[in-house]
Amino acid sequence: MAVKQRTPMPMQDPAERARNFSQVAMGYTEEMALAEAARCLQCRNPQCVVGCPVSVQIPRFIGLIKDKKYREAIDVIKETNSLPAVCGRVCPQESQCESKCVLLRTGQPIAIGRLERFAADWEAKNGAATPEKPASNGKKVAVVGAGPSGLTAAGDLAKLGYEVTIYESLHEPGGVLIYGIPEFRLPKEVVRREVEYVKALGVKIETDVVVGRTITIEDLFDDGFEAVYVASGAGLPMFMRIPGENLNGVYSANEWLTRINLMKAYLFPEWDTPVKRGKRVVVVGAGNVAMDAVRCALRLGAEEASIVYRRSRAEMPARAEEVENAEEEGVKFHFLTNPVEVIGDEKGWVKGLKCVKMELGEPDQSGRRRPVPIAGSEFVMDCDIVIMALGTSPNPIISQTTPGLNAHSWGGLIADEKTGRTTRERVWAGGDAVTGSATVILAMGAGKAAAKDIHEFLSGPQDKW
């Protein structure tokens, strides 16, 4: 039997979408979803489920879509995943569920993410069933941070009957889903819906609370919480430590994206927070955050938006799909190029980025070939905005204010990989606060694992840590 082609995702035209903040990938129609679902072989021993960090029962939900039982399909997904509309959009399926699909060898694995999104969006359109609020078991658990990891842990614990309160430092829940990932990849309305679902499970969310400052983890235990899950996310942005990095017009990707996404600076002055709209924008780095930053620059009206990366195309950490999207939209890529100085004008504004050409040498500790500068190859790129997308180091506030909670020298909290248990009894941790910058789904997986272990601990004799 000839393998049918994977159903393509309908996309906004590149030239048009590069100038608006509407969703790039428009989502499957019912016909498309049915065609794609019909391709699933319904493996008896499905490897896709093994590839999913939150163990979504993939063949089951796809089978239900095939039978047009959409409500049942989304319910199956939600048994293990509280944020399906988010995951269907931003998970790197190509390196998770879809990488295990038996059809991968044909080059046409099932588009699992797109089907997950279809099911979630179907529910949004047709009205979400209010989840039954489980009976309380009388035990209180606190979660620090309302990002993907915290929301997942909270959702799972609420389903088990715990009284969960999430403490969020920003004015709006969602974490990186709200401040980091742009509207054109993940509409904020979608995030708000997922947050509402978690709240409908009985989870309380207290915004404007910085744990470690407004209240401490000690205070939470004094208030009767029996366990705390720390999912405080990314912290301080990293810079290159090159001259000129504090010139006006140099942003961290975190600041650039927070202004645009959380504070809606692209709608200034209708919204009050401004952002500089550059003519020539250079983003340093090649991860997903760098792609988001550079694509935002185009949408803010940049005439030229470029990525500068010290390694080559093959080493880029961003999802292939996002790189492709960026290229289609007109982003320029400068590989094997490393900034050495940001050049400013007499008024303290960026006017150029001095870079050096690199060549690949011997493999380094990461196994990737180490980029080495080529002597005498310096050149200056004209630009008025430079964005550093080099990752983050976890925020030190919580480890500094919680006795017994230890962190690695680089800032990440020390936590057991399987359970999330930290060095402090009754405190679990996961997501970027533990791993440093990683993906939404890995953070969700950590939240899920921690919720399971919190439940095991609190329903057991509670004597061993």
């Binding site: 920003l170 209240i215 912290g235 942005p237 504090n246 504070m263």
Partner: protein
């Protein structure tokens, strides 16, 4: 939560509000700040805590109406609520337990100096305060400062009251007149803090300043508030706001503070909220 209990006009452009927030009131220490937002499409702006009352669950904020967000904040009345208020943020000031401290406050910077003086006074430290403004009508919190200072000097740029000249000039006069002190704390606009630091530098007199840069989240995530101190990049929201003023790169801080000057004008004009005076 965040209800405004008291509102006072300290000068035509400076307002004081007392806000109910038990969390911030319980944890606030001198030197810390809050981030607030006035409306749904509003900015997050930092304001240094001017006072707090743990019994009454309140924090006091003093602000000058200089941009859109402070103009909007100034329009709130007693009984209104501030949409979002989070804190206390930043590292509390490290204050000595003995000796003599000169507290220098310029303009609206007198407000953040006040809780430090109160605490120093309570600890038995000798507090000599110098407060100043452009003219006598712009002097704020004089009585409150007097109550926690062993000596209070008032300066005005135009000589309409007290010493005619800058607070830094008065400080120099006191030092040259034989004043013995262990450290100086200066809070106010960048030029005033910078001038104070240049005054004390030749004497090797330790001078703390409180930086108030542009912030977005204010919790250690965005890096907007970075400044250079002793040649190293510091994030004011988590490393500060208090720094050794002799180590601060003032020229850079001044340029960064003006990054959005054009947009600030646009914002005030487009909202037609009667600001921009």
């Amino acid at each position: 939560m965040n209800e405004i209990l008291v509102k006072k006009n300290l000068t035509p452009v400076t307002k004081l509000i007392v806000v109910k927030n038990p969390f911030v009131a319980a944890k606030a220490e001198p030197g810390q700040f809050v981030i607030l937002r006035v409306r749904e499409n509003g900015e997050r702006i930092p304001l240094t805590i001017a006072d707090f009352d743990r019994e009454k669950d309140t924090v006091t904020l003093v602000f000058q109406e200089v941009g859109l967000s402070t103009i909007l904040l100034g329009k709130l009345e007693v009984g209104d609520r501030i949409l979002n208020l989070v804190g206390p943020l930043g590292v509390p000031a490290e204050l000595p337990d003995s000796g003599t401290v000169v507290a220098v406050g310029g303009g609206v910077g007198v407000a953040p100096i006040l809780p430090k003086c109160k605490e120093l006074y309570r600890r038995g430290v000798k507090v000599i305060s110098i407060i100043g403004a452009r003219s006598k009508d712009l002097i704020i919190l004089e009585d409150e400062m007097r109550a926690c200072s062993h000596e209070l000097h008032i300066c005005t740029d135009d000589g309409s009251r007290g010493f005619k000249g800058f607070v830094s000039d008065k400080l120099k006069e006191l030092i040259d007149g034989g004043l013995k002190c262990d450290e100086v704390v200066a809070v106010g606009p960048i030029p005033m803090m910078r001038a104070t630091c240049e005054t004390t530098r030749p004497y090797g007199l330790k001078t703390w300043v409180s930086m108030n840069p542009i912030m977005v989240d204010g919790t250690g995530m965005c890096g907007a508030c970075r400044i250079t101190v002793g040649g190293k990049t510091k994030f004011v929201c988590v490393d500060g706001p208090m720094f050794d003023g002799h180590e601060v790169d003032w020229a850079e801080a001044w340029l960064r503070a003006g990054m959005y000057r054009d947009e600030e004008k646009v914002a005030v004009e487009s909202c037609q909220c009667g600001g921009g005076k």
